[in-house]
């Protein structure tokens, strides 16, 4: 029973982390594009900004890659990348007792960087997420991954406490 609760808490924390990371990544992308348009003399109202963000959040659902015949969207890619990173971090933590926040934060950072790294390898140096084509954008992008990792680390503990609350009392 405890294992089921542990697994559930990990899954919930992972989903929450992936959703928030995706949201911030897409938000960064929208802002990045809008800021560039501002430099080109476009008048960007709050309505345009809001509509663009909504569009991008919805657009993230459309297929971005087709791997082994399976279409994968932006959310899917982020979810898979973070899951792989957290799994590796969990294995590392079994061997070396590293601070959870630090380790999962680093895993989040490395996982989203991995998205850029592997798409560049797969698509001959093409960077599909436009906001990461410059160093500053890439750093912000990886920092969002780091935040995602910290969120995961905190919420897995939180969900586990919630799910095991009855047992402890």
């Amino acid at each position: 029973m405890y294992l089921i609760k542990l697994f559930s808490s990990l899954l919930m924390a992972q989903i929450l982390s992936a959703i928030l990371t995706s949201f911030f990544i897409l938000f960064q992308n929208t802002i990045w594009n809008i800021l560039w348009l501002k430099t080109q003399g476009f008048n960007i109202s709050f309505v345009i900004l809001f509509q663009s963000l909504l569009h991008d959040l919805r657009g993230g659902l459309s297929p971005m890659l087709i791997q082994w015949g399976i279409p994968i969207n932006m959310y899917g890619i982020i979810f898979i990348a973070l899951s792989s990173g957290y799994l590796l971090a969990a294995i590392v933590r079994l061997i070396i007792p590293i601070n959870s926040i630090f380790l999962y934060g680093f895993a989040g950072f490395a996982s989203v960087y991995g998205i850029i790294f592997f798409t560049k390898i797969t698509f001959d140096e093409i960077v599909l997420i436009s906001s990461t084509r410059e160093l500053m954008g890439l750093l912000i992008f990886c920092f969002i991954g780091l935040l995602g990792g910290i969120i995961f680390s905190q919420f897995k503990e939180f969900f586990l406490k919630v799910l095991t609350y009855e047992k402890n009392n």
Binding site: L37, F42, S52, H55, G59, S62, D124, E125, I126, S130
Partner: protein, 373 residues
């Protein structure tokens, strides 16, 4: 047994009739002239009727339609054949019969990155001689994507070069200190014409003719010398533009397409000072080449613009009146393959190249000729 033969006969007669009705409906017939090219990219016609064919993998070939033979031209400049890069366009000098000059566009690897290069050489007995590089695009990148790479000689013997945005460098298409996302105009020796447009920016490169393009793989002119260019959009927003010197065609500040990750590149489709396409396609059909048709073999097609497409694997016949597209017909879908290039031959037939992507040596040369000949 008799019954079976009877039904078989009825079946054969029925399908023969259906086929003949179908064949009668079409004013054209398709004939595969050659099968086995390795990712062909462009085709041009020599005065003696032979075809010059470039293969992205770096080979230039001469096809003889009478003997159906293919000869590889030697001494072709080495190219960076990777992803979308390689040997691309071929353009014969307008005075080819006097000077034997051909122009080639291709991607190369340099210390600064890879980029688009244009060279000219004399075609002498299936060999290129006197090779001279006349242009290296100031568009260095790590990717092997979005080179543009189309060439077009204008009536004044100046050469237009389409230079793509390099995929990762789209914003540079709006800057004038580089060749990303530009159409360039140079003299036939590579020098810069005196009458090129003048831009009000100190660092503007003098060979820029137009800017704000993405990946322009179609460049042609009509009988009146009006220049047409088409470019790949991202997800949607493939464009057909009429090209006027000095103008900004908007990419990526205005676009009808969205990014591959589903996000907006720009929420704007129009802006003062940025040109609108005369037609756009959403979803994208991946425009690859185009040609105007001026021959009486197909009088009903006279003056129409034929655009080949990769992802939709067809050809679009556009009727253009007063610089506006009035109708579009989807054609040659029966080829069922990505169409890389389309050209109108001197004898009035259309010649199509399929690129056979994914399969080595499966590109074809297909002739479209009247059905009644």
């Amino acid at each position: 047994m008799k019954k079976i033969i009877k039904y078989l006969l009825i079946f054969i007669i029925f399908f023969s009739l259906t086929y003949s009705v179908d064949a009668k409906d079409k004013i054209y017939k398709l004939e595969t002239l050659y099968d086995g090219l390795d990712m062909p990219w462009d085709i041009d016609f020599l005065p003696n009727g032979d075809f010059l064919v470039s293969e992205l993998t770096g080979k230039l070939k001469i096809y003889n339609p009478s003997f159906k033979t293919l000869i590889t031209v030697s001494n072709v400049p080495s190219v960076l054949a990777r992803s979308q890069g390689g040997l691309s366009d071929i353009e014969l000098h307008p005075d080819f019969e006097l000077n034997n000059l051909i122009y080639l566009s291709y991607s190369i690897k340099t210390r600064e990155g890879n980029t688009l290069q244009v060279s000219r050489a004399k075609l002498h007995k299936n060999t290129l001689i006197d090779i001279e590089t006349i242009h290296t695009a100031q568009a260095f990148r790590k990717t092997s994507a979005h080179y543009g790479a189309r060439l077009l000689f204008l009536n004044d013997n100046t050469l237009l070069i389409s230079s793509g945005d390099g995929f990762n460098h789209r914003e540079k298409a709006q800057e004038l200190d580089n060749h990303f996302g530009k159409i360039l105009r140079i003299n036939d020796d590579g020098s810069i014409p005196n009458d090129n447009p003048i831009f009000k920016k100190d660092n503007a490169l003098k060979d820029i003719f137009t800017y704000g393009h993405r990946n322009q793989q179609g460049l042609t002119k009509d009988i009146n010398g009006i220049i047409y260019s088409h470019e790949h959009g991202p997800k949607g927003g493939d464009e057909l533009n009429i090209i006027y010197p000095g103008l900004n065609y908007g990419w990526p500040a205005i676009t009808y397409g969205i990014d591959y990750n589903g996000s907006i590149i720009s929420p704007f489709k129009k802006k003062k000072g940025m040109e609108q396409p005369i037609k756009y396609w959403t979803p994208s059909i991946a425009l690859s080449d185009m040609t105007f048709y001026y021959s009486n073999l197909f009088p009903e097609w006279y003056g129409n613009l034929f655009i080949s497409a990769l992802s939709s694997a067809d050809v679009r016949r556009l009727v253009i009146k007063d610089k506006m597209v009035v109708s579009e017909e989807i054609m040659f879908e029966e080829i069922g393959s990505r169409i890389r290039s389309i050209k109108s031959s001197k004898d009035g037939n259309l010649i199509i190249l399929t690129d056979g992507r994914g399969k080595k040596n499966s590109g074809k040369i297909i002739k479209v000729s009247p059905n009644n000949l």
